[in-house]
Symmetry: C2
Subunit: 304 residues, 2 copies
């Protein structure tokens, strides 16, 4: 693989990577990948597939892709790495379409928020060339307009290899995300889904539920009096409902389990409050305080 003269200093990692990247879905994640590649890995040839011709025109105008396509077969021609950044529901159809047109060495990955079902379906179509991934970055805003060149900077990215995944595939996709600024971790698809059910999907479910509780139990103007704890705790309730219906539905069993665990913990707190057991209340709050400071704090504000 050749590296353009003069670009070595800027792309120390990317020189290990394949250079033709196809991005499927030019939304928040796909658009941010293109923006970041343009800034950090200027040698990469980018093709972008999307269904909205107007959006593809905008991508061309902004120089975010070398080629744009509404035809998936064309978009994948010659790609070393293809990334599905679409809703998870349409990934299997895309995989079936592109499978016959992939180069022999081509790797396919995705950026979906749920992994077990997606990995099973896409592996059955694409074989070991598919490796699931989940950049833990996003925003309550969506679409290309919300894309940012620093979206992945310092954000976790979880890859979900199977026992059959070739080491080279894991290494390539890992270097790809590292080159975008992500902190890459690997675990099984099932461990991922259990984890994100509690660290991402549950906090989203809580945010939606908390807004609905206030909307149904207080006069309309009350929320104008809400302070930061409510505002921060419900920020992601403004997330795209259709997108999150897909995510919660795809991971529904783990999310439902996490919600029921949360509900039990909340009820245990309600019980000690009703008994005014201040020692137990203090213990409950202290345990949380001891764990909360361990969380990483330097992420940009909008990362999910």
């Amino acid at each position: 693989m050749s590296v353009p003269a003069g670009s070595e200093a800027r792309i120390p990692v990317e020189s290990h990577l394949k250079r033709r990247v196809s991005i499927f879905g030019p939304g928040l994640i796909g658009g941010s990948i293109a923006l970041t590649l343009r800034g950090r890995c200027p040698g990469t040839v980018i093709s972008i597939w999307g269904r909205n011709a107007g959006l593809l025109d905008e991508i061309t105008r902004r120089g975010l892709a070398d080629t744009v396509h509404t035809n998936a077969e064309e978009a994948v021609q010659g790609a070393d790495l293809s990334i599905f950044c679409t809703p998870v529901g349409i990934m299997p159809g895309l995989a079936v379409t592109i499978a016959p047109h992939l180069s022999e060495h081509a790797i396919v990955t995705d950026a979906g928020s749920v992994k077990a079902g997606v990995v099973e379906k896409l592996t059955s179509i694409l074989g070991d060339r598919f490796l699931g991934g989940h950049p833990m970055a996003g925003s309550e805003r969506s679409g290309l307009a919300a894309a940012r060149a620093d979206l992945f900077e310092g954000a976790p990215c979880i890859l979900t290899p199977l026992p059959t995944t070739p080491a080279w595939t894991l290494e390539t996709v890992s270097l790809f995300w590292s080159s975008l600024g992500s902190q890459v971790t690997a675990m099984s698809p099932e461990a991922h889904d259990r984890l994100v059910a509690r660290l991402s999907h549950l906090p989203h479910a809580i945010a939606f539920a908390l807004v609905n509780l206030v909307a149904s139990s207080l006069p309309p103007a009350s929320s104008l009096l809400a302070g930061g704890s409510f505002r921060d705790g419900t920020r992601v309730a403004a997330s795209d409902p259709a997108l999150w219906t897909g995510i919660l539905s795809e991971n529904r069993l783990e999310v439902a389990m996490a919600i029921r665990e949360m509900s039990e913990i909340l009820n245990s707190l309600a019980r000690i409050l009703e008994k005014n057991d201040t020692a137990a209340i203090l213990d409950f709050l202290k345990r949380a305080g001891e764990h909360r400071p361990h969380l990483p704090l330097p992420y940009p504000d909008e990362i999910l």
Copy 2:
């Protein structure tokens, strides 16, 4: 009341206010009141009462008070307005101590997060000169070190008059908080407690519970993978456990009721997830999205 020459332009509101203010408790709220008065109402004479002599020395060094006191009787001498910024549990004792030493026209208010119990106790001691208040501003950090001159800027402040509260008392305390930058609203103590149970105490309870759920159900390093929805939703779990045990305990019946409502709403979401009723999930998320954008967004980051 005289206004110092040349200061009229800076204190258009404060010229209506009594000029000697006694602050009880030099923590986050009390310290921020002093800082803000110094900046916006330089003619105000400030006395501060506290139990920690070292902290009072710091207040003197920083010029935040004209006089500092460990003796409450002395602190209240000549005060037009006294403000209790201590934990609610010690307010009745302070009220009993200062009551015989208050000027005839003196007004007493507080900054406690719960109102019905406090208003009942303090009114029985101080009579109609007491008016409950709650600046909806704070931080997960506490103490004088966290105090800020802009803490109240644009933040709601709820006053809780009784039918017997003189209009002049309500007007004076209202102008005081307005002069600090707050948006003042009035309602009954009971309406306040019901409201903040849902808009502040419940989001705090959820934050503590969510951290405890993750700490008990995932491996220790997992929270390093948490993104913004978890981080924002649990920010206030780092709040002072003793302070919040007092607040939650004081408002325990309303908070317990709000927690049980939340638990039911969460369980209803778990049920539609288990049935994979995507139309119902979408409806649940859409309702939240429709209400969330109505919330005010321009508050500083740390306001509770």
